[in-house]
Symmetry: C2
Subunit: 249 residues, 2 copies
């Protein structure tokens, strides 16, 4: 049994608490939140005052990135204190406790059910026994556990911006072009899913297709004429990059 | 029964022939290819000479875009002749036959099994009876049939470049960042799949998250410092666009 308390009840805190309460091998001791949590019942104890935190093996801070430093400095705890952020260094945790990171690599929203078994968790600690403890905890939730240091995790967070946020923006441009031309955006959804699934078996470099890859100048020119002018700059830049990238490989 | 012949045996031709040969409601009459097709047996007749084409309801031209015009001008056929291209106008078909388009919106490769039931087909014809015939043919393969005119289809093709080719390039950048930092790229695959699945229930505009969306300047600055310099231009441009786009909506 691992004894855990979760500090913060935002998107990540919400889903972690839910997963821990359902687990047979994790004992959720307390959930801290600044404000009372309404219309929810927990097996764990709810606390609003940091002085009321009791002993646990791991305390998981699940609050906004820029609040981690000052929040952690108020904690008078023994045990291992971890944050859940992709972009914050382990050293942002200020205190005499042992430090670590427990970063689930997924975008969370409260209204969407989460299956932790499919979510990778990146863990980091300052010594091997703490790392093993975090590994044990993460393995209760998912088989996808990765040991990643702070520098790697910050780079991973940048990579995630490309494959998640910027990819979603590509979908928005697709949707926008459809809207402007009275085309049902649903027609693109199977292609979007296929594009994501393809790289499960094929590295993205090998999966690259399209007019830029083929250096099909005629189609590129035609596309630039058709395209709403606001998206020309993106089309041109990404076409240039695909062509340069290919030369370098 | 719809009687069909397929002209061309590249990636699309290969998969169409395969699907038609398995169908109980489509009668594949002939497969034309310039060169003999080796190590393959068909129920349909194989021909290498356009003069040997016999009567069919629909002739499907599945050859490279820039060859469609001159190839079609050699055809002495009755019946409906269609091409399968996303970016070529219906009027690129030259001849006295009836004209149409039968565009399956997916990227094909011969070594990957295709499930047509999940592939949208965009159809276009010059009159209602031909359109109904194409609709009947497409509905034998997939429930996802869309009536799309040439202008819409060309715009759809541009949109597909964004959601497929450019999205795959975002994955390549993610892969590149992982490689450079000794991170296993597999850690990003669940997020990639989740990002694609999310828009099945949420419009991409509502699904947008990330530092650009939150206008989180601190994280953006940190990312730009970390990022390999070659990708700075893309990060900056897409961040700017996400922020502008949000203001306009």
């Amino acid at each position: 049994m691992v004894n855990v308390s979760v500090l913060g009840y935002g998107n990540i805190g919400f889903h972690l608490v839910d997963a821990f309460e359902k687990s047979n091998v994790i004992n959720l001791i307390q959930v801290y939140n600044r404000h009372p949590i309404k219309n929810k019942s927990f097996k764990a104890e709810l606390v609003n005052n940091l002085n009321n935190l009791t002993k646990a093996d791991v305390y998981i801070i699940a609050i906004p990135d820029d609040a981690i430093k000052s929040f952690s400095s108020q904690l008078k705890l023994d045990g291992l204190v971890v944050h859940t952020s992709g972009s914050v260094n382990i050293n942002a945790l200020i205190g005499k406790f042992a430090k670590g990171v427990f970063y689930p690599l997924q975008s969370f929203s409260k209204d969407k059910v989460v299956d932790f078994k499919k979510i990778p968790i990146a863990i980091e600690a300052q010594n091997l026994s703490d790392l093993n403890l975090l590994n044990k905890l993460a393995c209760c939730l998912t088989p996808l556990v990765y040991k990643i240091d702070s520098k790697q995790r910050q780079n991973l967070h940048v990579a995630a911006v490309f494959v998640n946020n910027f990819t979603n923006y590509m979908y928005r441009i697709g949707e926008n072009i459809c809207l402007k031309n009275n085309i049902d955006f649903n027609i693109l959804k199977p292609l979007i899913l296929e594009t994501a699934k393809k790289i499960e078996t094929l590295p993205p470099t090998d999966a690259q297709t399209g007019p830029a890859k083929r250096n099909d100048k005629q189609t590129i020119t035609k596309h630039l004429k058709l395209l709403p002018s606001e998206f020309e700059e993106i089309y041109t830049l990404l076409t240039k990059f695909i062509q340069q990238h290919d030369k370098e490989l």
